[in-house]
Subunit: 380 residues, 2 copies
């Protein structure tokens, strides 16, 4: 029933499942396509698979060149032969999230009933749990019953937590990095600015921009810029750009710029060429809805009762979007149910994005944790 | 030469100076109008005048009803008979800033050479120092040689600092609240998001929206929302709105909302009815340009060499936009030149906006400082 094929028009490797997917919102998708990349070799017992979960604007191109941008994989310093997530030992797979725009079913996919017209804003609201259910379908398709590890930063960390909560028997180790058990009011507010900026762009056309052959680039760029500021620390912004100021003479209100401004504009404009606005709306909403404790009357530890998964929680000291306190309360909740949990706050002045950057301490910790787990799992 | 009159079409009380104003950017305004409000009585020696400087989106209606919004003055809990800034003792005046949109010369004022067409985006770039020079002109017009105090929060605090640096002999006491000696890279970045959102609004028409009879409301609302999030602490956002979440069923990407989102939208939409977009661009740029140490080869203390002004610096513990560290380095610089300086960090979880809110500790400190200064100034 299932078809494995590169989707022709997109060139992303993907699997399409004829069986639909029931969503948290009560609606169902009639079929499900999951786009993915893998690297390394699955061993005979299928016990060495690591699932990497990407962040909001990430994708499945974790360790090889992204065909849309021509840029290296987003975690090339972490995933590869001899690297902290060692592809000589592990079979590493990453899927584009449900609701995304890199080949997995999302708002730009054909509508269930009105194909070839895309879903657009009619795409159902999805949750982090829904994303994880789609990944589970894919992992099962690979013949993997139990993942050696689920690893992700930011929204990827939310997915790692959701995996451990939904499928405790399928996760030997979980590594939520720069993550939290719920999205804070401030985080929701920053997302809302982005969504409003997109909705305010006249090229958005109430989400039907695809039918006009346009994209709401300016709104999407403002959304990206807003998010970008929250991803870096004040120290990192200052170090990169400082206040190299042009002469105040001839300065106009929208003309000449501080360096930080041109950088932000560049970030915004490169992003709009690769990202679908309706996906941005869908995925930010999924993050905002994330609240692990909610189905357990607000008792976070209950989400992990009886868990045998080994956890490594990592936070970064200058991350003000997902501050250390959030990881610490996760660690407390896990301790409360006697889980096997390590928690490390990495000293860094790079902010939330530190998990993507050159952070030797973090990489050492990750490598050590995985090596220890591999030993316990009989993989070493 | 100078005319004191309520500007007929606006009803704001104002003074128009026939003499122009030379600006930091090298350009000059041919004439200058300063809109203001005052309360209390100037004493015979003209020694009891307090100038209050407003913040980015504030105005001169500090202690009486704002005619545009019908709302109470923005500092009604602080300025009035028997209040911390006691109008039974002091003559309190507040002017709309240069570049503003409440009666003082700004982008919506008639162009020097093309009246009645407004300046729009042709309005020169102004600086905080330029704003202070316009205020000085006005204060001199009142016959006041030396202000008893200059007081302001946020951008108003920048003006208080600029007053003390430009006109040390004209300022007996200065109270910069929740302020800084320069605008940080992060602050500039947040402003840039707002400016880009305004520029991205098709109704902006490259700043000529007035000629189309429209206003770029959506862009301005996104700008305001962005700023608003930076003004409140995470704790304040959470306390006010928490995560009262609607059922995920029927949730659409842009439809139903967390409470924090509807609040932000309300903040954005009420703002656009009273604020001019080109003023927003001009004033945010002035803040971004602020850097007290720059003309002194980066040595902040040199800005205050030999000062005899008494300073009270106030910061709020949860203010992440103008954090305590910024006020502390100001205090250090002032100590370095043996200035008379008090520095207080007020414990508050209300964020940057705390200076506008009910903060009894802050009010007590302000009252005490002014009383002490009044005694030294022979006003008690």
């Amino acid at each position: 029933m299932d078809q494995t094929s590169p989707t022709p028009e997109r060139t992303h490797e993907s699997v399409t499942f004829a069986q639909g997917l029931a969503l948290d919102c009560g609606r169902s998708l009639r079929s499900l396509t999951v786009a993915y990349r893998s690297v390394g070799t699955l061993n005979a017992t299928r016990s060495n698979a690591i699932l990497i979960c990407h962040a909001l604007t990430g994708d499945q191109y974790v360790a090889d060149t992204n065909p849309m941008t021509g840029k290296p994989g987003w975690w090339e310093r972490v995933v590869g032969p001899g690297l902290p997530i060692d592809t000589d030992k592990f079979f590493v797979v990453c899927t584009n999230v449900l609701g995304g725009c890199m080949g997995t079913t999302g708002p730009s996919s054909p509508h269930d009933e009105r194909a070839p017209e895309p879903w657009g804003t009619n795409f159902p609201a999805v949750t982090i749990n829904d994303m994880v259910r789609a990944q589970k379908r894919f992992i099962t398709h690979l013949g993997v019953e139990k993942l050696f590890a689920v690893i992700g930063g930011s929204m990827g960390g939310m997915q790692a937590l959701s995996w451990a909560a939904l499928y405790p028997e399928s996760v030997f180790a979980a590594v939520p990095i720069a993550a939290a058990a719920y999205h804070s009011a401030q985080n929701i507010a920053f997302h809302e600015i982005g969504r409003q900026a997109i909705a305010a762009d006249p090229l958005f056309h109430d989400g039907r921009y695809w039918s006009h052959g346009v994209t709401p680039e300016r709104g999407l760029a403002v959304a990206r810029m807003t998010a970008h500021i929250t991803y870096v620390s004040e120290a990192a912004l200052t170090r990169k750009f400082g206040r190299k100021l042009q002469d105040v003479a001839n300065l106009s209100a929208l003309g000449d710029r501080f360096e930080v401004e041109s950088y932000l504009q560049y970030q915004g404009s490169s992003f709009v060429r690769r990202f679908d606005a309706n996906s941005y709306l869908t995925i930010t909403r999924a993050m905002d809805l994330f609240d692990l404790a909610a189905p357990h009357n607000g008792v976070l530890s209950s989400a992990f009762s009886g868990t045998r998964t080994r956890f490594l929680l990592v936070s970064f000291s200058s991350d003000w979007l997902f501050p250390t306190a959030q990881s610490r309360s996760l660690a407390r909740a896990l301790n409360h149910v006697a889980a096997n949990v390590s928690f490390v706050e990495v000293e860094s002045d790079k902010g939330h994005d530190a998990f993507l950057l050159d952070e030797p301490d973090f990489h050492r910790i990750l490598r050590g944790f995985l090596a220890g787990c591999a030993e316990h799992a009989g993989l070493a």
